[in-house]
Symmetry: C2
Subunit: 199 residues, 2 copies
Amino acid sequence: MGRSKTDGGAGVRERILAAACELFAEQGYDATSVQQVVDRAGVTKGGLYHYFGAKEDLLVEMYRAIFSERLTALDAILAEGRDPEWTLRAIIEDIVVGTAAMRQESAAVSRELATMDSGRTQRLQADWRRYQEAVRGLIRQAQQDGVFSPVASPEVVSWSIFGVTNSLHTWFRPDGPKPAETIARELADFVLAGLKTPS
Amino acid sequence: MGRSKTDGGAGVRERILAAACELFAEQGYDATSVQQVVDRAGVTKGGLYHYFGAKEDLLVEMYRAIFSERLTALDAILAEGRDPEWTLRAIIEDIVVGTAAMRQESAAVSRELATMDSGRTQRLQADWRRYQEAVRGLIRQAQQDGVFSPVASPEVVSWSIFGVTNSLHTWFRPDGPKPAETIARELADFVLAGLKTPS
DNA sequence: CTGTCAATACCGACCAGTCGGTATGTTGAA
DNA sequence: TTCAACATACCGACTGGTCGGTATTGACAG
């Protein structure tokens, strides 16, 4: 359904999204024209506006793709009910590996995050705040319990973590010497070393 | 010189730059039209193009304003010739406080950093790489000397630091409860705690 | 102090081209 | 015939940038 006999095997909608993702990541959202998107996707503007109501919907779709995955992963990790050290490590490794796996989407979205608040994205932004608040709450509680050192506030620690992932697309290369899993482990080691209580 | 008797006391060129800075930070570079800039600055397009050769020059100017300050500060810190712990702390505190003091410029520029590589900015980007390489080299040397723990690679540590400052504009509020100096000290404490060798 | 003359600073109308979006047409399957 | 799935042609708004013109200033001569 929805497949013509001449397309490359992928649905038209998916091709459009993939093309938009590449172009937004390369040039930015505003600098990319709808015409460029349809050219790369091998369709026409009529086709794009058949599947998407507006150019912005392409961005919203990428936004959702990124955060829905991270949020379900977060819930799964929290549901384990393990100790703070294990939990924070799992969150960091998931967000690094998950973000690295969607470099282009995250590059496209992270740049426009500040601008996007057009009603359509408020639900998604609320989810994102919930994610950050969960991390901060975890750190805060563990510091109160004496499990983590109070060397820095939960805000600064969480900003360190999310700052890395927000700018991950600028320095991570999938064909580089270090796979995402290694970087994820290093970052988790580093953060947890900073939070370790002197014994 | 260059001042009419009706302006607010600031030079026209500075007013244009300030207006562009605000608008780029709010809406992004591409989403901001030259017309919006001149409207907010209280001049006309002819006036803007009298002082700037192209719209892009406004961005380049902000780029330079940010990095020239950071680079001279870096050189001054390195010239002290102190131990790695003191040096890294000084660098972190300078970059946090300095970036916070130029929130809007850094918001405007950081978003477009990936796209800007039009010859005009190559010199500036080379300087920026030099900055990062200085930090990484400092960490690498200290780790080899056993002063810093090898818990994470110099790359990951430096990305943690620069990731925070690159996304600082999204969460730092100058009228918030925490002044930039406090955040700077917390971040330095946190990073150095992670790098401390177990004694 | 006054008159002259460039140079600088700035204005506002105006391009040619591009933008996101739409209205209408065509095609093949059911 | 009917409907989804696209293609094509096109629109009005707006874009970055240009250009001829003018108001203001400073230097210098007398």
